[in-house]
């Protein structure tokens, strides 16, 4: 396998982009990434675009080809990939495989979603496509519901409190205030969080990520080609994709996602690093309790202590390991198919040392992107080029 580097990044703000067609959001982010990379567009040998629900919400498919056409790219394979919330991470891994295996020397990755133009019923119905609707749908379970189930178990086993979970919300919302791309940064008090509307016990409004529009893009190249690029390169040490149970009842433990556990173990082995080497991670905090479970599944916090670590400030910027310095899905926003690519954008900025909420001296960063009820997961590890 050849070594691969990320040499170009681009992103729209996450939030509301009323009236902007979905493909144009993707084109904007991709053009920024191509200009940042500074390599000849003719060298792009493949395009992978992560998107979840452009069909049901926009009546548009073949987005990878449409975006490539508007960018004037060569006549190369253009593929849209889907894995619910993990769509972006999967698109990235496919581009990495194309280069690492020698199929091409450079590839463009795009993640894009628009959701805010649809009403709540349309969005909920579209998002529920990520569930096994033969088995889990008929009960009336929702995605917040899945994490309500998980929270109850975490609280039962580890005594996790509302205040400890609120520490995650407060941290990510504060981080979001410092990120110019974030949709919903805020300085919240424990009382404000505890007084917000109940969504799905014990989850309240501020425990849930918003509905978002947005796009992010990356240019990847074979390592020797990084010298030709003008963008500061970041090395891809590992990128792994795994599968977990496709239905709720298939999970042996509702308070852990085995797809995350196995992806992390394989990614650490592939990168030749351990959890202790990770300076920062952008992980899939679709709900506050998800960050706590993910941080344990990734081996960053000891099992059962994810909430305590957040409450003690160990996961803040300047703490032991910075978790979601971008604000995460909770504050930066969650344009589903764009999220995984947006996480990589954030980590590259950190490793370049140019982030607005910079983790001082960051050398190794990680992304974690989890789709559906844990059915698809990607974990990637990046390192500042030396």
């Amino acid at each position: 396998m050849r070594e691969v580097a990320i040499v170009g990044i681009g992103s729209t703000p996450f939030g509301r982009h009323a009236g902007t067609p979905i493909e144009q959001l993707g084109v904007r982010a991709a053009a920024e990434a191509l200009l940042d990379a500074g390599i000849d567009r003719a060298r792009i040998g493949a395009v992978y675009l992560g998107n979840f629900i452009s069909g049901p919400l926009n009546g548009k498919e073949v987005l990878a080809g449409i975006v490539a056409d508007q960018l004037g790219l060569p006549n190369v394979p253009c593929t849209k990939v889907e894995g619910a919330c993990a769509s972006g991470g999967i698109a990235f891994r496919h581009a990495w495989m194309a280069i690492a295996s020698g199929q091409c020397d450079a590839a463009l990755v795009v993640g894009v979603e628009t959701m805010t133009h649809a009403n709540t019923a349309q969005t909920t119905a579209a998002l529920n496509c990520a569930m096994d609707n033969e088995h889990d749908g008929p009960s009336g379970l929702t995605f917040p519901g899945l994490f309500g189930l998980a929270w109850r178990i975490h609280a039962e086993r580890h005594g996790t409190t509302r205040a400890q979970v609120s520490a995650v919300v407060r941290k990510n919302k504060r981080n979001g205030l410092l990120n110019p791309l974030a949709q919903m940064g805020a300085d919240l008090s424990d009382d404000q969080i505890a007084a917000s509307a109940s969504i799905c016990d014990p989850l309240q409004l501020y425990d849930c990520c918003p509905t978002s529009d947005g796009a992010a893009a990356l240019v990847l190249v074979a390592k020797p080609l990084a010298r030709e690029a003008t963008g500061i390169p970041v090395d891809v040490l590992a990128t792994v994709q795994t599968r977990g149970a496709s239905r709720i009842a298939g999970h042996p433990d509702l308070c852990s996602f085995d797809a995350t556990v196995s992806a992390a173990q394989r990614a650490y082995a592939m990168a030749g690093v351990t959890a202790a080497d990770i300076d920062l991670v952008e992980l899939n905090d679709c709900f506050s309790i998800a960050e706590i479970i993910d941080s344990e599944d990734l081996g960053l916090a000891p099992r059962g202590q994810g909430a305590i670590w957040a409450a003690e400030g160990r996961t803040a910027v300047g703490g032991q390991v910075a978790i979601n310095p971008s604000g995460g899905l909770l504050a930066k926003g969650h344009p589903v198919g764009a999220t995984g690519v947006g996480q990589l954008y954030e980590v590259v900025r950190q490793l370049r040392g140019t982030h607005a909420n910079q983790v001082k001296g960051a050398e190794i960063g990680m992304t974690h992107n989890l789709g559906g009820t844990g059915v698809a997961c990607t974990v990637s590890i990046l390192r500042r080029s030396v």
Binding site: T124, N128, S139, L149, C200
Partner: protein, 115 residues
């Protein structure tokens, strides 16, 4: 109330080739890919693994919100997702439940009465 006689059973499938039991009808056995799957009835009784209250429901369930979801570890082995009956006692992890209504994958449970 005795739950044994009046509690409905859950329909599952057993593979005639390898004996694997799964929770719902499917084209082939995930254990051995045999298509020789036989329906089997399993008592709809078990223990609550976790529960939550849905206060913002999908459109088709909005008329019944709020409602409780329970994940139940059946005495027979498999784990299933269901709802808690509106007139059931409140759920807790480890509480014993039995089904009072089964329709396709929509299973409604209620807490066993305390002795």
């Amino acid at each position: 109330m005795g739950t044994d006689d009046r509690s409905p059973s859950l329909q599952m499938v057993r593979c005639a080739q390898c004996g694997r039991v799964d929770t719902a009808m499917r084209p082939v056995c995930a254990g051995c890919l045999s298509s020789d799957l036989q329906p089997v009835s399993v008592p709809a009784r078990g223990v609550v693994a976790s529960y939550t209250t849905i206060r913002r429901a999908p459109t088709q369930f909005r008329d019944r919100q709020p409602y409780d979801i329970v994940v139940v570890d059946l005495d027979a082995g498999p784990r299933v997702t269901g709802r808690l009956s509106a007139d059931s006692a409140p759920a807790s992890i480890g509480a014993r439940v039995h089904a009072v209504h089964v329709d396709h994958a929509d299973t409604v449970f209620t807490l066993d009465e305390q002795p």
